[in-house]
Amino acid sequence: MLFSKTAPGENLIVRGARVLDPVEKIDAVLDVRVDGGTIAEIGARLDPNAHRVVEAEGLTLAPAFVDPHVHLRTPGREDEETIASGTRAAAAGGYCAILAMPNTDPVVDSAAVLGSLVETAQAEAEVPVGFLAAISKGLDGAELTEMAELADAGAAGFSDDGMPVTAPGLMRMALQYGAVTDRPLALHCEEPTLSRSGQMHEGSVSAELGLAGYPSVAESLMVERDLSLAAYEGRPVHLLHLSARESVDAVRRARATGVRATAEVTPHHLCLTDEAVRSLDSNVKMNPPLRSTDDRTALVEGLRDGTIQAVATDHAPHARHEKEVPFEAAPFGVTGLETAFGALYTHLVESGLIPLELLLERMSAGPAEAYGLPAPRIAAGETANLVLLDTRGGWRVDENVFRSRSANSWLLGERLTGKVRMTVAAGRTVFEG
């Protein structure tokens, strides 16, 4: 389900880092030795055994991150991102696996398109990448894709992300028929007659700016619908990029009654509110939109209590000239792969909203489990998927730092604490900085 360049695993020893694995419940200063890409030994003062030594005193070594929601813009908009550039960006962000959404041109709705992506990934992906396939052909919400064949061809899941599955009847069919695969359905919840031409969260800021409102109920109503259908069909669902308090509450209630629902949240929804839109900067325009302080608080609470188990960047690269327009004319979406950890460390951990261990779990094991992928773990015998973090180092987000082909980041010019120093993905060092 994950595809990348194949290369022999490395021999290395990371020495003296604070090893922090919330799943394995490790938090100690230790050495970690990797033999041929597999974690061989964890302990104090290990023999380097002629391995490359990475001196990591003062740094934190954690299971590498998993991003369940990325737009690689391939095929169709390779000027904005390619599999090569997107996975290089992922490596720089500390990720050992990413999942790409199928809203490309053409849409990933046939085994032929999916097959070509798999081939490309095997030739040029720095970091293992999985591809979701569409739920409906052409994302037009009318006909189901050949889900069984797509699953056999390696689809990591199914999603019409970017669009809701508007018709409840088709959503139900997708849940029923989807049972022929073991892959999750990932749902973009938006009631289009409520979001309409909405440009930002509906509230006092939209009232003042005159931007058409995209009310939170446009999301939560669809979340409620999909949870009802999932409950009725007894099928699991994964809910993409939650933004509203009511959505978080609905997921929490549904899970309490046994619905198998997982959910994700983006760094920008965890860090910003609709107040940011007063700048009319097109890099704070995204779907779903930034919402109120109360919504943001609910998202942080949801992340903390596990209602939301995954941080997802919704990395959405856009060409410079398409974002360099008045706010109202700009496309939705911001990049996030290379800034997610720094942004969340700065805005959530440093400010005391969540502990570092929790953030690490929600960026790694949480998203992996939501998609049935093995969680990266720091344990002997596991493939080395490691991220080395500097939680003291500050850095300025600048256009020139990005490996992504696009730079439409909401963090441009901002100073962040928390920097990825090294990423090991599938036993191979894919980033050092």
């Binding site: 009232a207 700016l209 700048s279 974002k323 010019g413």
Partner: protein, 333 residues
């Protein structure tokens, strides 16, 4: 005394503009002092226009470019005349018939015009954020002459000027703004301006056309047309049919709107003043008898438009207090 000083200065060529480019993008960027200064300057220009020789040499050699991506009569003509009365050169660009028709981006249009080294770009554009965007990509003073449903700050200034002319004060006035607030940049700008000068505002209209959360701007709302009774002034908004999405159902029909919220003589108190930013839909939001009555300040608004826009151009190009501050402009990547 202050006004006399402005008059004398107004006859001199402006000093070099300050290094920090100032713009008029939103009423939200103005302070009460900015408004008082601008209205004072406008009043002194009004007096100069009473003379036989109406042209002042103040902005001789300056270039004011009017860029209108949306149709406009009042705003474009008054900006053009304001610039001419101050002896500035003017150039007017309309979207149709220009490179915009060939798909040129706003950035390239702005850079092209910027290459002529104008002093001010006055811009109207259907998209929110257009004036902010142009201010960010050119080194020119930008005046927002309307950006979508967002802002129309010179309209708010001319409305304050008209009110002050009529009542001799602004503080404590009660203004009822009636109609399609949701789609109105005029209403948004005016609510902020009235709040700044200490006036009271009540927004009146159908529930679907009063934006959720608008009270945070410092106003009250009512869906009952009788709420206009308590106001000193009834400000009637245009029912913007062209902004209504197809089948959006904000109001079931214009007929029902006119019946419920139309401003008629029967709904007004004797002596209550009426304003309208134009163009009017007679018989929809405003009864023709109201539009033509002596209590209507509508023509006064048009006259005020000229002098307030002269004041805005003058203010931006002289080194007066940096009050009209640049909005937070984050570089777009």
């Amino acid at each position: 005394m202050a006004e006399l000083r402005v008059m004398r200065d107004a006859l001199l060529p402006p000093q070099q503009p300050p290094a920090e480019r100032r713009h008029l993008l939103s009423v939200a960027d103005l302070s009460k002092e900015d408004i008082e200064r601008l209205l004072g300057t406008a009043r002194s220009f009004a007096r100069s226009l009473e003379r036989e020789m109406k042209k002042l040499p103040t902005l001789r050699g300056r270039l004011v470019v009017n860029v209108f991506y949306e149709s406009s009569t009042r705003t474009s003509s008054s900006f053009e005349l304001a610039a001419k009365r101050l002896s500035a050169d003017t150039m007017s660009i309309k979207a149709s018939g220009s490179a915009v028709d060939k798909g040129e981006s706003l950035k390239d249009t702005a850079l092209t015009l910027g290459a002529y080294d104008p002093d001010v770009i006055v811009m109207r554009h259907p998209q929110i954020g257009a004036a902010h965007f142009v201010a960010g990509v050119t080194g020119v003073h930008v005046v927002n002459a309307g950006d979508g449903k967002h802002q129309h700050p010179t309209q708010a200034l001319l409305d304050l000027y008209t009110l002050q002319d009529e009542f001799g004060r602004l503080e404590g006035l009660h203004v009822a703004i009636v109609g399609d607030v949701l789609h109105s940049r005029v209403a948004r700008s005016l609510v902020q301006a009235l709040d700044l000068v200490g006036a009271r505002t009540t927004l009146v209209g159908p529930p679907t056309l009063l934006p959720r959360g608008v009270e945070a701007m410092g106003c009250e709302t009512s869906t009952d047309i009788r709420a206009i009774g308590a106001a000193d002034v009834v400000y009637v908004l245009r029912m913007q049919r062209e902004r209504m999405l197809e089948g959006a159902n904000y109001v079931p029909s214009l007929r029902e709107y006119a019946e419920r919220w139309g401003v008629t003589p029967e709904r007004l108190r004797a002596g209550q003043k009426v304003m309208h930013p134009g163009p009017m839909n007679r018989g929809v939001e405003i009864d023709p008898r109201v539009a033509d009555a002596s209590d209507a300040l509508i023509e006064g608004q048009v006259r005020a438009g000229l002098v307030t826009r002269m004041a805005v151009l003058y203010d931006l190009l002289t080194s007066g207090p940096v009050g009209v501050k640049a909005a937070q402009l984050t570089e777009v990547a």
